[in-house]
Assembly symmetry: C2
């Protein structure tokens, strides 16, 4: 019976991942304290699915599940769990189970696991490791956060230049237990352990035993140990790398980075950019309401301040508004269109900077093109809205003031949207984080000032 | 002398990619029609760098470079070039050089190259291929765009279940020329060519010759040939895959997808989401001013329409504004804060939907949390701005109207920001593309209506 129902679950399930029905059944099993059923239900799941399950359920359900079934959380699940709930999960695991889980992991996974934990929790996990593993982890932790040194695994497969294919394969068979679980390239090293070439293992497999490695090795893209992970991801993507050797300042091989780590970095970086543009910090993801408030309120407060500054320009035109109240009706449109135009340009610019399509080589041409596009869009919008305003309000001067303000604001929006992120980048700041608030202020201010100012000049 | 200056260039250059100085020297060489110097300058560059060069320079410079040096564009460069300038580049290449370049490529690269070209250009390229290569490309093109079938390469390494490690390696050595250039897994197949397991080639390398493949093979994540590429990328990321077999509906192995193709898909998808949220279509990237206008104007026109609808609510309160002009000064702040709050929630929701952190399992909890966060943020902002307004204008009723409107609009912003993308997703639409315009309209409308309405009730 039990087996039968599991099969049904598997059939109901989508091919990959969890579905709501399975989550419901798991939570029912937790409620009933039915560990046996829990194990049957979770048996077909990958560690990544169990991590997803823990992320998707609420904090109280998570606590109940962890109390009932701590041994479901092995090393693989631990390293898959999002960092925002990792501390919470670790707290609920009995000390000896945590130690056992951590000992299963490679050094780079342990580093990834502990780097965002509090000191006390770090100590617990480090204490569970062998002396040599602990030393390896601590050495990696000495490299700066987000550097190649943190990302790399120390386990590499290296071979001297003078070896043949046969010697290499024989050596790998003998030393099978010391090799990394998965590897893609054999690094050919000189006597001082500097990498001089790489042999993809598919090349190794199809070459005759007597061929020297030096004859089939390919050129390398070496990664300095202190390179930023964003730069590493850029190089992997651009040159379609599967793995790359990491070298110390002297050129000595100290580890390798593989493409599966890079997929994670790419996701993280694009996630950070998209959230930063919207003014959300990345902290409050799986946290409670207060974490979410903390991740969003600072941006809203900053925007309140800039909005207050921008509307202060309206105060100078109170007399005109009292006389022609239609000005108050139309002015938000001018500001809003400017804001939208600026967001478009800004997003394209931030994105192009991140992917290095926008650089010193083409900055001037890009900014000029953006300004031309801003004017063209402005003119089209001015004609469309101008005609509409004339038809609705029958006032040619109002229509002229509105149309002129639109063109001016769309030009300013394009200029600010392109120049502000470029300037921030050149100042060494992240353009995704701080551009939007500047640019929105500029287009709000310009929108109100241009429209009300021109209207004051020609209407009254 | 020439050699010397090349060395200097290499030293000046950043470790990876192009820099402005080198681009300048290349363009000088093009101006001087100095093909020899051009070849010396570009010799150390990777195909991806040459593609970058072509993307970064202007259309006229591109034309001159291609006319002077068509043979610099080999197959690899062609497949690296961004699709927005690919047609242009192909047009400048002499027919026989294009044919030669294309014949170097694997079938999946040819598909990637031609899928966005016009019919006539597709024919030219297909005509340059051997009969069997052409058939393979045409077969891939028969799968829907953005499907696993389009993404996969047809070249796979398969072995029967009963083989040993030694038999497999001997076979690969004999058939070396027919193997894909790079591969990571050997797929173990049953007699009907259905994959039953995978052996990572690093496992193959370290296993003894007499071990049967069936004993060391690992379980598979099969990709159906019609699966959407976004789904494929999700599976690769979640389960940390390096390669996966692609199967026909009957289960037969027809090709494989490798992680390096997935890195490109991940970039593309996150790029599309970020641009869609800002209301930019992806077309006008390297195109001229008119392409850029076409990629942005539709969104601006749509926003003009919704902005006009939203401000129409102001018209109903013209009498009140004429009496208390301060209302016109303060109302844009209410609308703007609502817009910012909605953008935050919307972006987080779109992102969570894309990464599947937001699903049917936690939709209700997520939306309720967002609404609570909206109210909390609203109350904090209401208190801060309320106090400021009382201090500046000394009017308690104005301050109450403003504070109440802020709380209402922040709540509505959170609800709309979370519910609209969820509803669009459930309707099978892309939430990134169409959410923002709805949500902004809702917060503009609510901001003006709540503030002016409450003010009209209590002030006058």
């Amino acid at each position: 019976m039990a087996d039968n129902s599991v099969e049904e679950i598997e059939r109901e399930e989508e091919d990959y991942g969890l579905d709501a029905a399975l989550v419901g059944q798991i939570l029912d099993a937790v409620d009933a304290h039915d560990t046996a059923r829990l194990e049957i239900l979770t048996e077909p799941l990958h560690a990544a699915d169990i991590a997803d399950l823990l992320e998707q359920i609420g904090p109280a359900e998570r606590r109940d599940l962890l109390r009932l079934w701590p041994r479901g959380i092995d090393g693989e699940v631990l390293s898959e769990i999002d960092e925002s709930i990792r501390e919470e999960v670790i707290e609920y695991l009995p000390r000896e189970m945590l130690a056992e889980a951590v000992r299963e992991l490679d050094s780079d996974d342990v580093v990834d696991l502990i780097e965002d934990l509090e000191q006390a929790q770090q100590e617990i996990i480090l204490g569970a490791l062998d002396k040599s593993d602990r030393a390896a982890v601590e050495q990696s932790m000495a490299y700066p956060e987000y550097s190649a040194g943190r990302l790399m695994q120390r386990e590499v497969v290296a071979a001297p230049q003078f070896w043949t294919v046969g010697q290499a394969i024989d050596h790998f068979r003998r030393e099978a237990d010391d090799l990394p679980e998965l590897f893609f390239d054999v690094y050919v090293v000189d006597p001082s352990y500097k990498p001089v070439g790489a042999v993809p293992i598919s090349t190794l497999l199809r070459s005759r035993r007597d061929v020297p490695l030096a004859q089939i090795m390919e050129s390398l893209s070496e990664i300095p140990v202190d390179m930023d992970q964003e730069e590493v991801a850029y190089i992997f993507d651009k040159y379609h790398l599967i793995s790359a050797p990491v070298v110390e300042p002297g050129g000595r091989l100290v580890g390798q980075i593989t493409v599966d780590d890079i997929v994670g970095v790419i996701h993280e970086e694009s996630r950070e950019d998209i959230l930063a543009l919207a003014g959300v910090s990345d902290s409050g993801r799986h946290g409670g309401v207060w974490d979410m408030v903390a991740s969003r309120l600072p941006w809203l407060l900053l925007n309140t301040l800039t909005a207050a500054l921008a509307v202060s320009v309206i105060q100078g035109f109170e007399a005109q508004i009292a006389e022609v109240v239609t000005l108050a009706v139309l002015m938000p449109i001018v500001a809003s269109l400017g804001g939208n135009g600026a967001t478009q340009t800004l997003t394209v610019a931030v994105r192009a900077l991140a992917s290095r399509e926008l650089s010193a080589v083409n900055a001037v041409r890009t900014v000029s093109r953006e300004m031309i596009v801003g004017v063209v869009n402005g003119v089209v919008l001015a004609v469309v809205t101008g005609v509409a305003i004339y038809l609705i309000f029958g006032d040619l001067r109002l229509c002229v003031a509105f149309a002129a303000a639109i063109v001016i604001n769309m030009f300013v929006a394009a200029a600010a949207g392109a120049l502000v992120p470029l300037a921030l980048e050149r100042m060494g700041r992240d353009p995704a984080v701080s551009s939007a608030v500047f640019v929105t202020f500029v287009t709000d201010f310009t929108g109100f000032f241009a429209f009300l100012g021109i209207a004051a000049l020609i209407l009254l």
